[in-house]
Every structure is written in C-alpha cells, then in structure tokens.
C-alpha cells in the first residue's frame, strides 16, 4: 500500500520516492549463489532499522544440485513494513533472480505490476536450456507486464572486486552482495549493519572483507547513479512495543526455550537426536551453548535418540529430542516407553511434507494424527503447537513445565515454516518467565514409584537417591507399587488413569482466546504454524465489516476447557489446515459442530488471500 510519494535528488538526477506501508522482496538464485545470506542481511538491516519483518526461506532438497538447474534453486522471501506483519506475504513486489532457473521457478509469485531485477549475465544459451527455456524470456516479451531491470551483475561485481586480490570463483561468490546493494539503495536501507557483519565475519580474511564491502557499495551506487531506476521506496519504522529485540527463527527460539526451561529448573539439558531436515538447526544451536550445561547427544538413529532421552529423564535430566515426521515414526516405540514409565520429556516434531521422505524442505501439518495416535496401545501424551517463530520459545518452556508437573512426555508440533521463518523477538525480562519447580523425593518419604499426587503425577525419584531404588519398564504396572502386573482390572484402571492425567493438564493451560468478536457468523479455528495467515486474513475481512473471528489452538491434547463454548457461539466454523483435514474430524466428533475444512497440501503455507477468499465465499460475499 502506497503511503505517500514525492521526488528527490539522487546523485545527479531526480527520482520519485514512494512511501510504502510494507513490501515483499524475494532473492532467488542457484543454491550456491548466497541467496539465504542476502535475504538474512536485508532482514537484519530492516529489523535494526525498526521495521517489523517476517521471513520465509525456501531451500532446495538437494544441497548442491547441478548449477543452473531448476532443482538447485534457492530462495529467501521477506516482508518488512511499518505495520504488524503476520506472514512473509503472498505476492512478491520485488524479485531478484540470479539465473534463468530461478526466474522460471519464481516468476509466478511476482505481483502483476511487480519489479524484476535479473542478473543478465547468467542468461546464456546454456543456462536457458538448463532451465528449459527455448527462447530468452528477457527478449521474447513474456515479461512485459513487469518492470524489468536487466543488470550485468556478474560483470559489475567482477569490476568492483578486481583490485582486491581476490580471484576467479571467489569473486563470483560476492555477487549476492552486489544485488543486495542495489536493493539497499532501492529501499533506502543503511549499509552499516551489513558492513559491520562483513568485518566481524571476515575479519581474518581482509581480502574477502574488502571485496564484499566494495561490491555491496558498488551495487548501492549503481542504483543511485544509473538512469535506469526512476523510483525508489521508503518503508517507515513500525510502531513496535518498546524494548530490546533480536531476530530469531523458530528453531533458534525452540533451542533457547529448551535451555531456558532447564536453567529455570536448575537442571542439565539433555538433547538426544539424529539429524533431519528441518529439525537439525535446533541441535546446531544447542551445541553452541555447552556453558549452560547443555549435553547434546547425536545418536546413531532416532530410535536411539528417543531411548537415550527416556534414560536421561529417568536419571533426572531435562531431556528432549527433536526430529521430523520420518524420525518421529522411528521414535514411536520409545515414546510409548516414556508414556508407560511416566517420565517427563519433550519431543519436538518439526513437521515437513510427507508421507515417507516426502518434501524434506517444505512445510506441512500432516503429523497431528501421528502425534495423537501414532503409537501402539492407548498411549496419550500432551501435545502442543507453537503459532509463530517466537512462540517456539514460549512453547518449549511450557512443554517442560507441563512435562514435569504431570510426569509425561510432551510433544511439540512445529513445522518447516515456523522453524526457518524469522521474526523480531522481544527479549523477555528474566523475572517475568514462568517458574518451573522440580521436586525429587528423598529417603524417608513413604515412597512408592506409582503413588500419584492430586494431578495424578507420580514421583520423580532419581538414581543416586539412597533408599528409593526401584525398577520401571514398559510392562504394565500395578498402580502405586509399580510392580509388573497382568491383572485385567488394574490394566483398565491404569489406561484410564494415564488418560485422565493428560486430561488434567487442561487445568494448567490458558483458555482459548478469540480474535475479534466473541460470537458471530463465522469462526476460523486453526492450530500451529497457520496462525499468521489466518489472523491476517481475518483481520482484513473484519476491516471490511465481515462477521468473522478466529481462534488458534496451541494445545491439542488436551484442548483448552472452553473450546466447546467458543465453537458454539458461531454459526459456521472453518478449519484451515495444511493437510487433508486432521483437526477437523476431532472437532466435529468431540464437540458435535458442523465445522468444515479448508485444506492445502502443496508444501507451502497458506496465502492470506486464499483464506480471505474462502471467508468471503462462506459468508456469501
């Protein structure tokens, strides 16, 4: 949305300055072209500048697919604005394409009057044919509806770097910063944050630092001096709550949350895991924080990872694991052991497209049914889902709080979109964090391994405690004593007790909140990573005067106690999910409401407009 326009001198000429409320930029190129880095730099700079930001990296599944091919295209999209941004945006305003393959895979997302900046040097016959173009799109008119800027980025970059001592391929690797420089000029961004970053990153390689500095500036001055650009944009700082901020991805936030929970409870954090996209970054982040008594264990597979977590929990650590769908499938049996042993632990599933290996780098919400029912026997477990990258921090703390309070495994359903997406995170005041109190029984207490408290939690007696030696395992137990027990009545009693214990968690979680009016025509009920898109769409529809509200579940088992009440206050209920409809039958069955589903299974998040259109369709507009 254009806020205001005026003209200004740029170098020796006049340019029109267009003020925008928000904008969406996407960098795309070969996976070796440094697009993630360029995107991250623009994100950081915009955040430091005071904008709200929201990002969506889009990696290829192959790390190094052949250069120039469609499979090797990597992209990074970000929205920045002077208003609250709930998603990285639907359609792209400015697309930077470093080669024909990148152009081909991304042009469909460019707004019909968007700006396209291409690296003209890469449009060679060879690259065109690798991308499947039979004629050059820069010449054949198919891009006419866009504002196209053809820039010989490779030549200009080489020119900028030529006296630095850098040679050959190393020069080529700097070209992302030339493109970034052009964008910095286009949006009037300060270069200092990136220059500082270059100096701290390449401090020990002054040649590399110099080349990157020169090409960034060259890009910036290219924008300023060429006659090509007649318009530039400004995006004013957002009105954001005062405080200190940093940018966090969902995975980083999750890692910080796990460390924080353990620290609040004065416990070591044990993280046993096996690498898998898109969960591995949690491990990477944690491995950097050993000084917080973080003990990471890279196991031989997910079965071992989960089993080690059960062992660590038995021994008294705050134990967690992270994986994605295929790994969670392998963990199933050991999760069941955790449920049977009634030990506290946190299991993070960063969901990706399935089934099987599926779409490793793409997002999906199709593991809810697995979380609820993906184990043998009646094996209930608390299930939570963060709703934004920053919320991963809070949910990780809440997961551990509930795990120790109720002596149960807790599963957290994140997803690829939250995990890799970033947003500004207001650094919390440490004194405002929730308390996590852990009590271990000691000798003298009249100890019984399965004697429960009012909430039905059993005592967490840990090895090393004199007099409390006891044995646990996966076989059914007698209540109170914990002895192996095959009695039919006891089995039913234990099954019901384990379920009741999870239900009791409803007393310890926040009620479901409604965004908008408390009652009305239509309620959108979402869960997990779709929060941003749903809320933005509902906000837009409300602004148009439609009777629509939304509610978002962060707790899927148990659900907040008032869920049924909220649902019944609306005439229609729509459940958008990035799956075939997994929450839907639960809501229909449990609350007997005629909810309908809205589903997308393309490995991509919802666009705001898709949900808005559906709202209008349902309200007959």
């Amino acid at each position: 949305m254009v806020v205001k326009t005026h003209t200004e001198n740029s170098g020796t000429r006049q340019v029109e300055i267009v003020g925008l409320e928000s904008t969406i930029v996407r960098f795309c190129g070969d996976s070796g072209d440094g697009m993630q880095l360029a995107g991250t730099q623009l994100t950081n700079t915009s955040a430091i500048f005071g904008n709200d930001v929201s990002t969506l990296p889009d990696f290829p599944a192959e790390i190094r697919a052949p250069v120039g091919t469609l499979a090797g295209v990597s992209g990074f999209q970000l929205a920045f604005g002077s208003k609250k941004l709930r998603t990285p945006g639907d359609e792209v305003d400015v697309l930077v394409a470093m080669n024909p393959a990148a152009l081909k895979t991304n042009i469909g997302d460019l707004d019909s009057d968007g700006t396209l900046i291409v690296n003209e040097d890469a449009f060679t016959d060879g690259n065109l044919s690798k991308a499947g173009y039979t004629s050059n799109p820069l010449e054949n008119g198919e891009l006419d509806k866009y504002r196209v800027f053809r820039i010989p980025i490779e030549k200009l970059n080489a020119e900028a770097c030529k006296d630095t001592g850098l040679t050959g391929r190393a020069i080529g690797r700097c070209k992302n910063f030339f493109a970034l420089g052009v964008i910095y000029w286009l949006y009037g961004r300060p270069m200092e944050p990136t220059l500082d970053w270059i100096n701290s990153k390449f401090g020990s390689k002054p040649v590399v630092a110099e080349a990157n500095t020169k090409t960034l500036k060259a890009g910036y001055y290219y924008g300023e001096t060429t006659e090509m650009f007649t318009v530039k944009y400004t995006v004013a700082p957002a009105k954001i709550e005062a405080g200190r901020y940093r940018k966090l991805t969902g995975n980083e936030a999750m890692a910080l949350g796990l460390i924080t929970a353990a620290k609040l409870a004065k416990k070591p954090l044990f993280y046993g895991t096996y690498p898998i996209t898109p969960a591995s970054d949690i491990l990477h982040e944690l491995a950097h924080h050993k000084s917080y008594d973080v003990r990471t264990f890279q196991a031989e597979d997910e079965i071992a990872a989960m089993a080690s977590v059960v062992g660590a929990a038995f021994a008294g650590a705050f134990a967690a694991t992270g994986s994605s769908g295929p790994g969670i499938a392998l963990k199933g049996e050991a999760i069941g052991l955790g449920i049977m042993a009634e030990l506290p632990m946190v299991i993070i599933n960063v969901q990706r497209g399935g089934p099987s290996t599926g779409l490793p780098t793409k997002t999906e919400q199709a593991d809810l049914a697995q979380a609820l029912w993906g184990r043998n026997g009646e094996s209930p477990m608390c299930i939570l889902a963060p709703r934004s990258p920053g919320d991963c921090f809070d949910i990780a703390i809440e997961a551990f709080r509930l795990a120790v309070e109720f002596m149960t495994p807790v599963m957290v359903l994140s997803d690829g979109y939250l995990a890799n997406g970033a947003e500004p995170w207001k650094i919390p005041d440490v004194t405002s964090l929730p308390k996590i109190t852990v009590t271990h029984p000691s000798e003298g207490s009249d100890f019984q391994p399965y004697r429960r408290d009012k909430k039905l939690a059993r005592p967490w007696a840990i090895p090393g405690t004199a007099g409390l030696q006891h044995r646990i395992g996966g076989l059914e137990k007698q209540d109170i004593t914990g002895d192996v027990c095959y009695d039919p009545k006891n089995h039913e009693h234990m099954i019901r007790t384990r379920r009741q214990k999870i239900d009791n968690i409803a007393d310890a979680i926040a009620p479901l909140e409604v965004f908008g009016e408390d009652s009305g025509e239509l309620l959108l009920l979402g869960w997990g990573g779709t929060y941003g898109s749903i809320t933005a769409a509902v906000e837009n529809a409300q602004a148009e005067g439609l009777s629509v509200s939304s509610a978002h579940l962060r707790h899927l088992d148990p659900m907040p106690k008032n869920t049924g009440d909220v649902l019944r206050r609306f005439k229609k209920i729509l459940i958008p999910e990035l799956n075939m409809g997994q929450l839907l039958p639960i809501i229909r069955g449990r609350y007997l409401v005629d909810a309908i589903g809205f589903n997308k299974i393309q490995g991509k998040p919802f666009m705001i407009s898709e949900i808005e259109d559906k709202i209008k369709e349902m309200l007959g507009n």
Binding site: N44, I48, G50, P193, G243, R244, Y245, R246, K247, L256, T260, L264, P268, F270, H289, K290, S291, Y292, D293, V294, R295, F297, A299, E300, D301, I303, A304, A307, S308, V309, V310, G311, A312, F314, A315, G316, A317, A319, E333, A334, G336, L337, A341, I427, P428, V430, G444, I462, P463, G464, A466, G467, L468, Q469, H470, R471, I472, G473, L475, V484
Partner: protein
C-alpha cells in the same frame, strides 16, 4: 541423619530385590544373577548409585531382581537408554543386561555405537544362542543349520560372533565367560566393573528349555578341558587336561600343537590384553569349537578416554570461557536492537 550406606558392608543378599525370580528352573540366568550380586557386594559400590538397564528377553528381566535402580526398557534399545542415563549422571554405575537377539538382531545398531563411544558402562550379553522369551526361534548366534521352531529344516543364515563384533566396533574391554563356571564368571565380572570405559562380556548361558546343551562341549567334564582355553595376560595359550596342548601361530593363522619334543612354551602364542591393535584379540575371537578350544577370559583391556568424561570436559571448558552463563546473556547474544 541418614546412615552412610556406602560404608556399610553390603552382602550379596542386600543386592537382591523382593521380587520372585521367574526364570525357568535350571536356567543359566540364575547363576549369573547370583554372581552379579556377589561381585557387587565385594566392590564397595552402593545400591543407589547402581543402575541396571535391559532390553526385552528372558535375560532382560534381570533388573527386577536387583535392589538397585533398574529399567526394563524395550527390545534392543538398552544401550541407548543406558547412554542417556550415563550422560545425564556420569556418577552412576551403569550395567546393561541383554540377550543375543536383543543385542545383535534388533539392537545391533545401538550395540555397535554404544561400544564405539566408549562410555564407562558394562554390557553383559547372555548368549544362549536362541530366542528364549518368544519360545525358541533361532537367533543371530545360532549355528548354521540350526533346527528351531522357525527353521524346521535348518537355518540358512550364518551366525555372527559377539566378541568379533565388539572388537570390530572398537571395544576397549572384551571378555567371555560361562554361566556354570561361577568362579571365572565372578572374576570376569569384577574385571569388567573395574575397567574404565565400555566393558563387553559375553556369557555363555544355557537355556535348558529351548536350547539345552548348546554349550555342553564347553561345560561337560569329559570335554571342557579340550574345548576351552583360559586366557591369562602375558602367558602362553595352553589348554588340555594335562596342559600339554597349546596354540601356535602358523603364518597368520593359529594352530593347535602338542607341547614336548622340540615345541616349548616359548613357541606358543602369548596373550596380551593391552595391545594397542586389536588383531590378537580378534584372532582369539575367531577360534571356534570344534576346530579350536574357545578362549575364556579377558581378550582385550585398553585405556581410552570415555565419552562422558570428554563430554563433561567440553562443558567445563565452555563454562570457564563463559563464566556468566545467565539467561540475560543468552537472550542478548548476537545482533540486538532497541525500540524506543
């Protein structure tokens, strides 16, 4: 004040729990249980610092019968559960009890990796060369051609040998003993407990219900002297009732020779537990009945830093470098900016 339990001399009985032992009468597991309790009572360890972790199988019932902390986990995963226990609290004495199916079929992967990491835990493999708990199917250690419920005309897969696997996985301590030789069993258990690092012990265990007599050759009065060979560190490999037979190297291969005449002890292969390279231990692990007497005792015992010690060292180092590991500092790492 609570009594200092560690200084009170505990008896074997003190290490037993109140649970009824439910193995079949005559099962080799009984003898092992009683030796483990006895050895623990002599080591001066405390019950509360001892943890037994097992998988699933007859043998894996073991933790229930010990008055220590215990975890009867899931099939094959005991080494991984034990890893979590040990890393969470390196002060604990951790023992894994497993079977041939548990360790080498379903748990083969965890078995290898727990060994290569050299955690200071003790793994006792009760090898009865059969699946006991599931009532008598052949196992990965059953001899080729074994007829069982699931192989009525004989198995067509080749067995593997637990010690060879453990040595291949870089074990720092490997030993073999046998259920009925209680003295030797106690000796090997004690050595295993004393070793700092992974201790792997294969225990020949008779399943008198589904595989009775599997080790008759090695236990029978008539045969045992010729079918087993007791290893002693730095001593020549000698066996036989009259100690007249020995093992000599012929090129790369062992051969049985009669002592006397022009063959003296000096011509024999000498055992050495502490060789850096595991070649000798591996060669010994490849000596099988009926071609050779099967070695009993400690095959290999070498020192190497343990996983948990190195992990704790890294944490201590990090703590020294970041002496103020506060949440404030954690949150404020990296690029921050202020909004006024």
């Amino acid at each position: 004040m609570c009594a200092d339990t560690a200084t009170v001399q505990l008896t074997a009985k003190d290490f037993g729990s109140d649970q009824d032992v439910r193995w079949c009468p005559g099962c080799g597991d009984y003898a092992i249980l009683s030796q483990v309790k006895k050895v623990l009572s002599t080591l001066g360890v405390s019950r509360e610092n001892t943890v037994f972790v097992s998988g699933i199988g007859c043998s894996s019932r073991f933790p229930y019968y010990m008055n220590t902390y215990g975890f009867h986990s899931i099939h094959g995963r005991a080494p991984a559960v034990a890893t979590g226990v040990k890393v969470a609290n390196p002060e604990l004495d951790v023992w894994v009890v497993t079977g041939d199916g548990d360790a080498l079929s379903i748990g083969g992967n965890h078995f290898l990796h727990a060994i290569r990491r050299n955690l200071n835990i003790n793994i006792l493999l009760f090898n009865n060369r059969i699946y006991g708990l599931t009532k008598g199917q052949y196992s990965p250690t059953s001899p080729f051609g074994k007829r069982t419920k699931s192989t009525p005309v004989g198995s067509v897969d080749y067995p593997l040998y637990p010690l060879s696997v453990a040595i291949g996985a870089e074990a720092t301590f490997v030993a073999r003993t046998i259920d009925v030789n209680v003295k030797h069993l106690a000796y090997v258990l004690e050595r295993a407990a004393q070793h700092k690092g992974i201790s792997f012990v294969e225990i020949y265990q008779n399943c008198n219900i589904f595989n009775d007599g599997a080790f008759q050759y090695a236990t029978g009065k008539e045969t045992k002297n010729d079918t087993t060979l007791f290893l002693e560190d730095k001593k020549p490999l000698i066996f036989g009732g009259e100690k007249k037979k020995g093992i000599r190297l012929n090129g790369m291969n062992p051969e049985i020779v009669e002592l006397g005449g022009d063959i003296t002890e000096d011509d024999l292969l000498f055992h050495d537990e502490k060789l850096a390279e595991p070649s000798l231990a591996y060669l010994l692990s490849r000596m099988h009945h009926p071609e050779f007497p099967e070695p009993m005792g400690v095959f290999r015992c070498v020192e190497r830093p343990t996983y948990e010690n190195m992990l704790v060292d890294q944490i201590d180092d990090a703590k020294k470098k970041n002496s103020d590991a506060s949440l404030e500092n954690l949150f404020n790492e990296g690029d921050t900016w202020d909004v006024k």
